[in-house]
């Protein structure tokens, strides 16, 4: 009798666990479903072709990094990557129809280390800018401002420009990093400004 009761209890417990597992799975799968459309865009981006714009300057000891643009899945992506072949890349995308998301530039800041500012190393700041921008600068957390050299980026699109800036390792060791990128027109008027999220 007790054996039979245990058997029934086992069946009930196992059935309840299966139901709980399926319910939990449905919750997780529901979250994944939200990604359905996004996954197809991500797949297009993963399979897309990267076009090199320029190398990020730096000393010979620095990691070799370049700026790439990619048009895939209706997106224009700006990547900081060692080469066009692999999937080692850091950056982001905007809709191809509005690559500057209503602004005048698309900036990406990538680095190793952290989260403490003093632990950050190999930091690169790259940007793609519209033809309206005549001058661009980056404000550092020590209060200084550096001019970002703008160069044409015909590979990225007609009239587009880019900048590629590698942070000085000596500044990084002192916890100094970029806080704000600004873009100005030829009259010195501010066109766009982007905070980088870097905090000391």
């Amino acid at each position: 009798m007790s054996k039979r009761m245990f058997g029934r209890t086992t069946i009930v417990v196992v059935a309840l666990c299966a139901a709980a597992g399926i319910a939990a799975g449905v919750v997780v799968a529901g979250q994944v479903d939200i990604l359905g459309e996004r996954e197809s865009v991500d797949q297009s981006i993963r399979d897309g072709k990267l076009t090199k714009v320029a190398e990020v300057p730096g000393p010979p000891s620095a990691s070799r990094r370049s700026i790439f643009v990619e048009r895939a899945g209706g997106q224009l992506c700006l990547w900081d990557a060692p080469d066009a072949r692999g999937l080692i890349r850091q950056g982001g995308c905007n809709p191809e129809s509005d690559p500057f998301a209503g602004g005048q530039m698309f900036v990406s800041f990538s680095y190793e280390g952290g989260p403490k500012a003093q632990d950050v190393r190999d930091a690169r700041l790259i940007g793609l800018l519209s033809s309206s921008v005549a001058e661009s600068s980056v404000a550092l957390s020590d209060g200084t401002v550096r001019t970002l050299a703008l160069r044409p980026a015909p590979q990225a699109g007609n009239g587009l420009q880019y900048f590629a800036y590698r942070l000085d390792p000596r500044d990084l060791r002192r916890g100094i990093g970029p806080t704000m990128v600004r873009a100005f027109d030829s009259n010195g008027r501010l066109l766009d400004s982007d905070p980088t999220g870097f905090t000391e």
Binding site: L16, G25, L35, L87, I88, G92, N94, E112
Partner: protein, 112 residues
């Protein structure tokens, strides 16, 4: 009793994995974000791609955190409508995302 617990746990795990198995996993639920808000996934050696997707261009950071020194690895911050980083490594790591600006609808997810 021990056997019952073991069988129950096994059944739960099998049911969960059979129902939910997929290449991507949301760890920062789809919601409105405020500056400074963040989210993190569980630790796993299989995570390779970490993305913060947004409904508009807002500054966000994505990174991986290793489980040895809890260092940030392959960090990137952009204002795009998506911010993405990759780390191909068998090291155990977690995906992490942070909103640098407020007022957008977004999701953080990671692929294995």
């Amino acid at each position: 009793m021990k056997r019952l617990v073991l069988v129950a746990a096994l059944v739960f795990a099998l049911a969960l994995s059979a129902t939910a198995s997929a290449g991507s996993y949301i760890y920062g639920s789809t919601r409105w974000w405020d500056a400074g808000a963040g989210a993190g996934s569980s630790f796993s050696p299989s995570w390779v791609m970490n993305t913060f997707w947004k409904d508009r261009s807002k500054w966000t950071t994505v990174t991986f955190i290793d489980n040895t020194g809890y260092n940030w690895r392959f960090t990137t911050t952009t204002a795009g409508t998506s911010t993405t980083t990759y780390w191909f490594s068998s090291e155990t790591k977690k995906a992490h995302c942070v909103a640098r600006e407020s007022g957008f609808f977004g999701t953080c997810y990671v692929y294995n």
